[in-house]
Symmetry: C2
Subunit: 481 residues, 2 copies
């Protein structure tokens, strides 16, 4: 890394993750130009690079949402207070964190409007209007929108006053069909995380304590960050008929009898960008997996003032453009500066080309994930670059899986749990009797919460990690964002 010397100052600008992980995160978010702060506490400005990553995640997921038969719609931003009251568990869960509109222009409103924290209520009101017969089912809707939650402590992408997301809302004739949908969309989320974001996820069910306000059951994908904390990365809820009963969403079945619909809802958010940063990032900055990288290859001309260098670099860009997302930095900044800049931004491949390379009909390719450099003939670039990008994609997922494995431990009792969280923070597998009291005690004493009851169960013991009573459920525990 011969350029390190010249630009050392720049590299040192971000805190090492071992020194202060939270500060490292904030530094990366700012230095990689993902986010800026505005004057509303807890809000974020998503900058072009951050937004381009979000657009790529959105486009991948949107295609899958459509392929699975869903239609996009758009619901209003505001929910009248009286409407919000209709589903009791739901309002209890969300009331403490909603923003209220009380005035329109100079007038005080007769009824306060809540800025949507989620849109179950609005979808339900609409469904009650448009669903009549079993022929209308399943009704499979999705919405891409912003939502607002009045959080006390906020961090960009992870927890913010406003965030972007998609929320699916569907109605089905019976529980079986609704459960199929709930789990199908969880699989879609897991697929996007693993195959595109290269973020491995655990699939499972949330405990009663941790489920969504108003749901019968909540399913989750959980990922593990570099610091050993878990991140809930997407959830899918089976809502049963509770909302349908509150809102009168009924259909007449084949025998002409009125039935309540069974509902689901599911969402992922800009939080996934947080996962991306904390799973793949390192002390040189962000690392973006090729499949969702806005720029997959950055061309950095060397000695670009010399005749022919820029021309050749632009030619290369134009010829690579058909196969990959490629850009060039032909600004008059020093190559060392550029190397650091695009490492900070986590661009998967850097392509260096200078006068000597041109003579030899070659370029240098530098991988962001491993730091390896390779000299490649220009004639081979069109096959070599897509191959390398796939290799990087795969490597990132493998590395993240290894990391998760190394940070997944077993605990037979609270002392082992506590030790594990101290010595090697990560997921801890432990048996649970199913009692809320134990779940609460574990959280109080260790700070770890139940992340999920994984679909892949193992029996590591017969007794609850907390109370020692009979237990037949394995739960993943962790401290979490």
């Amino acid at each position: 890394m011969n350029y390190m010397g010249k630009d050392k100052k720049f590299v040192e600008e971000i805190t090492a993750m071992e020194t202060d992980f939270a500060q490292w995160y904030t530094d990366v978010v700012k230095k990689a130009d993902l986010v800026d702060y505005g004057s509303v506490r807890g809000s974020m400005i998503i900058r072009p690079y951050g937004y381009a990553i979000w657009e790529n995640i959105r486009d991948v997921l949107d295609a899958k949402i459509k392929e699975t038969g869903h239609s996009n719609v758009y619901m209003p931003l505001f929910i009248p207070e009286s409407l919000l009251q209709k589903e009791k568990d739901h309002i209890e869960g969300f009331a403490p964190e909603v923003a209220w509109v009380t005035h329109g222009g100079d007038e005080e409103l007769h009824e306060r409007l809540c800025v949507r924290p989620t849109s179950e209520i609005l979808f339900c009101e609409h469904y009650a209007n448009i669903i009549h017969s079993y022929r209308d089912l399943p009704m499979l809707y999705n919405q891409w929108s912003n939502v607002v939650r009045w959080e006390k402590t906020t961090r960009p992408f992870l927890r913010s006053l406003e965030f972007l997301w998609q929320e699916g809302h569907t109605c089905h004739a019976d529980e079986e069909d609704a459960m199929d949908e709930t789990l199908k969309m969880l699989d879609v989320y897991a697929n996007v995380c693993e195959e595109y974001l290269a973020v491995p996820v655990l699939k499972g069910r949330k405990t009663e304590k941790e489920k969504f306000a108003g749901a019968v059951s909540t399913y989750t994908i959980e990922s593990l960050m570099h610091d050993g904390k878990a991140l809930q990365s997407g959830t899918s809820h089976y809502l049963g008929t509770g909302f349908a009963e509150s809102f009168g969403i009924q259909y007449s079945d084949k025998n002409g009898e009125l039935q309540h619909v069974h509902q689901t809802s599911w969402g992922i958010t800009t939080r996934l960008i947080g996962a991306l940063i904390m799973v793949h990032g390192d002390n040189r900055g962000l690392v973006v997996p090729p499949r969702i990288a806005p720029t997959q290859v950055m061309i950095v001309p060397i000695a670009q003032h010399k005749e022919g260098v820029l021309d050749r670099a632009y030619e290369l860009r134009d010829s690579l453009k058909k196969a990959v997302r490629v850009d060039i930095d032909a600004s008059d900044k020093m190559p060392g500066w550029k190397f650091n800049e695009y490492e900070m931004k986590g661009i998967p491949l850097r392509l260096e080309i200078g006068p000597k390379d041109i003579e030899k009909n070659q370029v240098v390719l530098a991988r962001r994930d491993t730091g390896e450099k390779e000299i490649v003939s220009i004639d081979e670039l069109n096959t070599k670059i897509p191959e390398l990008l796939e290799e990087i994609q795969k490597n990132l997922l493998e590395k993240a899986k290894d990391h998760r494995e190394k940070k997944t431990n077993l605990a037979m009792n609270l002392t082992e749990l506590q030790n594990s969280l101290n010595d090697n923070p990560g997921f801890v597998k432990g048996m649970w009797c199913g009692e809320l009291a134990c779940e609460e005690k574990i959280k109080e004493e260790t700070g770890a919460t139940s992340r999920c009851i994984p679909f892949e169960q193992e029996k590591i013991s017969d007794s609850c990690m907390c109370c020692g009573n009979k237990a037949d459920q394995l739960v993943y525990w962790a401290k979490a964002y």
Copy 2:
């Protein structure tokens, strides 16, 4: 139209536009499943078909916004009241129509937050943070988002409490560059309207009275609806250095001297869907131009219970899928019902295929725009359908141009203007002296507002239509949405 008899009831469900244009509009919006109403006054639920049209408009425009060098970003939903106060003309223009958030959870906020009616303020605060040098310019940002305006009277798409839009915000080193941008984006808008929506537009400048709050000058594209009212369909503003001075957005030029940036902003909204409806719709419902139609061809099987019909229909769909956006309605509803349904939805082409057609290796193609039916050999479909779609696209634009021409009149004085608005409502060209008093008098006496000072000027007289004084500007006047 042999199916008219059977399903007459359905067709009669929408009001004729000649009887009550406003009711016709509302009927189309509802019956074509574009919109439903929720419980917040003036808000709209954009249903799958309406949203799919919006997605197509958005995708076309977004590609052009990116091609012209702009990046998408995302700004917060809320603007603190003190920040909004910073630009005086701007706040005066928007204050009467903003929604105010006063509470977060149970707490009253120290400072009210306005729900963005537009985001100049937020972009300006950000630009002041990130622009330092002439090397940072131009800074070309765009955002796709929802905005809220507390309107008293609302109509779906045309004027609603909340709508979806894009807002471009750019910073430039000097006036010339900023003006180039302002007019370039106006051209992009005009291109999208004419080439994709088949809505012809007039390009011109707004008068001082009608310009955007805080702008130096506002440019507009104006279109003419079927009832002869005008619709402002997109605007592009040159903001000068006013916002930059209020927010301290400065850059150091090549000589190291601090300069204020010159800014622009520009936007189009879901209102364009309203234009689409009112320019192309008829008494059978919506007519969607092929280039933005979510479904370009709807296959309606005839006598589908007969052996082989559905198989052949699905085969056709699969073979057409590569070239056009095609769907099939294989539900057990009557063909007559389906014909009406997809005419109401304005799907450009209907493809009928029944047992006799299959025998003869042919189908029937029915055009939504002209109602013409044509028998076409199945072997020719892959070339014939794209051709027909292009013809329909062209025809819609031509028809709309003809309509506009027939509804564009001249007036030399207020009586002529009034007569013209009564006898043949539409655009009226008239000379204007440039005085606000005349503009206001014209509005008071006739209800017509100045739509724009068109780029293509003509001199139809020397004297102001209102006061008779010397006038050298031709203005388009009209009643408007």
